[in-house]
Amino acid sequence: MTTSLRINGTEHLVDVDDDTPLLWVLRDVLGMTGTKFGCGAALCGACTVHIDGAPTRSCITPVNGATGAEISTIEGIGTTEIGKKVQNAWLQNEVVQCGYCQSGQIMSAVALLTNNPHPTDADIDEAMSGNICRCGTYMRIRDAIKLAIDGHRG
């Protein structure tokens, strides 16, 4: 079955089963490896992408559920104003350690700030609690989100 996907503004045709998780289409079929596999069960957030702006766990999202939608991934997020701001805040705050979960963290943070430009601490907790970081960069993630909002270190 050929499926058409619009990813970071470009159309792609893929030939996979309808129920194939979007994650594996991105990574193994299209070679966009910035989106990561962590759990396969929407428990860790490493695979987070945006589907029509909504943060979505691509590891449990069947590819046919994303047809006709605007899919954004870490590879394209830097072209948006908020995406760039968040990436810069991540760099300025030296968030990353191993870095493996950070694509997903950034995608969740960008979705949060796009929908809610002035989140409270509770909003940040809620939006980010689905993204696990085993290196434990949580404090810096929190601070970087605040830095991205107002340009000050949190």
């Binding site: 470009t10 159309e11 966009m32 990353v96 949580y138």
Partner: protein, 729 residues
């Protein structure tokens, strides 16, 4: 519109291109011995600079463009090696950090073995910084000395009248200057100096600064290439099911339905494992689920955690190997005014690195290539050679950035498994473990059980300390010569070298290997267990003596001024002794492990339903020279979160020989909404650096447990924390 097959954009393509360039450069240079595989995103420039470089030693390459490549012998798994190690070289070489590219060292234990880990080319035990501190600065200084000598020769002046700065040699007397790039050839002709003079700490420009991480830009843009991201032409993806009971065998498998799954190419059967090879992981997973597998569970089919616990308990009642003995404990206990006895235990723990286990292998009749992120790449090479029967030099290892190690990737079981599968597959195959396989076939932090007794005199002073514990010795398998007379230094680390001055002391250890359960290093290794026991028990003794936990510890540390300093500092910064609301408490710990002094004060809140929230952790650390203070701070923050995960949730249990946990719902880890504030205070001095990857983990567990005691008067002697014991306390 592009078809999938046209797409080679993104990080994967970078990896393909860089690999080709790498192979080309290697052959141009006459062999790969001194070259590695550059895995940071911006590789082309680094590889291009490979031609005609100044190569004074195994660690430094200066290109004609003046860029410096540093061959980093220790892998990057988040701990900052790709920044702090280049800083050491750049400091002595007198180049700015942005002129430096980091590159993985290839497998070569002669050149890159870790002197602190028995010569194994391993990154672990918080040893990297300690191992490179002198040799890598010397490597930079040697290169600088040769560049200066080359310039001096050209100008016919004394080398001592020249100086190196910012990637140039200058002759202040005449204002002449030459870039390092222009000196590549001339410097190569200089003799390698027998000894070099290292800079004095007061002259450091980079060491001691919070230089930006060199690996960060690629990691925030999705361009960083981890082992799991490798792309190759005609690459297949495989996932696997291993015997759910350790030591079990594959009896039969019906693959009819799996073969019908679109994209599934092959089913591989091994003695104790089935793998589904497919065009992509989605198909491989679907194929795996469609398999009808029958296992022969073998002799461990009835194993339960309680069986292991019982065995350890019995072992501690017999005589163990005496790790350390001071004075006469038995006699001192007889005369004690008060005796305190306790039993502690800690569970098996999984590593749960964010990047699940994976390894890509291409086996050809005459060669084998392996793409992986691993902490012991020379062992990875040997493992692949053993499975294929090929000589070592026919096995190429391309090491990658690691999406979390924590000790898991100090093992090569994943490499062995992937090569076994790849041997039966035509073409390259990437073997990816599902999260469930990753957790259920981890090699675990051992289960330990401790019996401990102490005697106090009438004034509350500790006059006797007797400690006996049982559990697995990882080193006896990992580095057999290190296991002598029933003991190894890692397993007893933190218990034998206890920091307190105790007049009568005895530590015994009984090695008991859990049947079938593989054990391995886990962040903070021996101290992950021992510091929990020692720092909890010393807290019990303070309570028995009716003394404040901080002043009680301070009174036992007169011979340890650096430990005393960090303890006093953590207490002061945490507001130790100031009042807290109901059901809140502060707990303290102090330790000297991995060459670093550390004290932590944790502040916790225990709700009426027994759940524990760690609000704040204040850490004072003396790690000697803090090469990059921001990296030190980050390591403490992260290690604290790692330890709290274990304290609150961490437990691998066995039922019917099977691991009961499978994913992040049953093996929970700390999340952002639960994360405490971590405050780090670094004691500055010019002592040699201590390790920083691990101490924060061992220190936080007892600090949290002691804080729970302060809040509730409940002493927890088992990890993880049992919330049911804390209800309404």
């Amino acid at each position: 519109m592009m078809m999938a097959s046209d797409l080679l954009g993104g990080a994967g393509a970078d990896a393909l291109v860089s690999r080709r360039l790498f192979l080309k450069a290697s052959s141009a240079a006459g062999g790969a011995l001194l070259l590695g595989f550059d895995l940071l995103a911006d590789v082309d420039r680094a590889v291009a600079a490979e031609q005609e470089t100044f190569e004074p030693n195994a660690f430094v390459r200066v290109g004609r463009d003046g860029r410096v490549k540093i061959i980093v012998p220790y892998v990057e798994m988040g701990q900052g090696n790709y920044t702090t190690i280049p800083m050491l070289v750049a400091e002595e070489l007198e180049v700015p950090l942005d002129a430096v590219d980091a590159e993985h060292a290839p497998p070569n234990e002669k050149l890159y073995g870790n002197p602190l880990l028995g010569g194994v080319q391993a990154t672990g035990g918080s040893t990297a910084t300690r191992a490179v501190w002198k040799p890598l600065r010397e490597a930079g200084a040697a290169a600088r000395t040769m560049l200066v000598a080359a310039a001096a020769q050209r100008w016919s002046v004394a080398p001592s009248s020249c100086k190196a700065q910012d990637g140039e040699v200058v002759h202040p007397g005449t204002g002449r200057r030459l870039t390092y790039g222009a000196l590549v050839e001339a410097a190569s002709a200089q003799p390698v100096p027998q000894s070099v003079e290292l800079k004095r700490p007061e002259d450091f420009k980079l060491i001691g600064t919070s230089a930006k991480r060199l690996d960060a830009p690629a990691k925030v843009s999705g361009k960083a290439v981890y082992g799991i991201d490798v792309r190759l032409p005609n690459l297949k993806i495989a996932t696997l099911a291993q015997s759910p009971v350790f030591g079990g065998r594959l009896k039969s498998v019906d693959d009819t339905k799996a073969k019908a799954v679109k994209g599934v190419r092959q089913i591989v059967r091994l003695d104790d494992c089935v793998a589904v090879v497919a065009d992509h992981m989605g198909a491989a997973k679907k194929g795996l689920e469609a398999l009808d597998i029958e296992w022969d569970d073998g002799s461990h089919r009835n194993l339960e955690t309680a069986d292991i616990q019982r065995e350890l308990e019995e072992a501690t009642l017999k005589r163990g190997a005496v790790a350390k003995e001071v004075g006469d404990v038995a006699k001192a206990l007889e005369t004690a005014a008060r005796k305190v006895d306790a039993t502690y235990q800690v569970p098996f723990l999984a590593h749960a690195t964010m990047e699940p286990m994976n390894c890509t292998v291409h086996v050809r009749p005459d060669a084998c290539e392996v793409w992986v992120g691993n902490q012991v790449i020379a062992r990875a090479q040997a493992a692949a050679a053993a499975v294929t029967g090929l000589p070592l030099e026919k096995v190429a290892i391309h090491n990658h950035l690691i999406g979390g190690g924590f000790g898991r990737r100090l093992e090569v079981d994943g490499v062995t498994r992937a090569v076994q599968i790849a041997k039966l597959v035509d073409g390259p195959v990437k073997v990816i473990w599902t999260r469930e396989e990753d957790i259920q076939h981890d090699m675990y932090r051992p289960f330990f059980l401790d019996r401990i007794s102490a005697g106090l005199d009438g004034s509350g002073a500790v006059i006797a300390w007797r400690h006996h514990f049982a559990g697995s010795s990882i080193l006896s398998r990992w580095l057999p010569p290190a296991f002598q007379n029933g003991l190894d230094p890692e397993t007893i680390d933190g218990a034998a070298n206890i920091i307190y001055g105790l007049p009568n002391f005895r530590l015994e250890y009984s090695r008991v290997e859990p049947p079938g359960i593989p054990t391995a290093f886990w962040r903070s290794v021996g101290p992950s267990h021992n510091i929990f026991v020692v720092e909890s028990f010393i807290d019990e003794l303070a309570a028995a003596a009716k003394k404040d936990p901080v002043s009680f510890r301070l009174s036992l540390l007169d011979h340890q001024p650096r430990a005393k300093t960090v303890l006093a500092l953590a207490a002061e910064k945490s507001g130790w002794g100031t009042p807290l609301p109901e059901r809140r408490g502060r707990g303290v710990s102090v330790q000297f492990v991995f060459g670093t002094y550390m004290a932590q004060v944790a502040e916790v809140e225990v709700t009426n339903d027994g759940s524990v929230r760690v609000r704040k952790v204040v850490c004072a650390v003396d790690c000697g020279t803090a090469i990059n203070p921001d990296v030190v701070e980050a390591q403490v923050q992260g290690a604290v979160m790692f330890g709290i995960s274990a304290a609150l949730y961490g437990e691998i249990s066995l039922k019917n020989g099977r691991v009961e946990q499978g994913n992040f719902d049953t093996y929970q880890v700390l999340r952002l909404n639960e994360a405490p504030t971590v405050e780090v205070h670094i004691v500055k001095n010019n002592e040699p650096p201590g390790g920083m990857g691990e101490p924060g983990t061992s220190a936080v567990v007892p600090a949290v447990s002691n804080a729970i005691y302060a809040a509730t008067s409940i002493r927890l002697r088992r990890m993880p924390i049992d919330a049911s014991a804390l209800v309404n306390k």
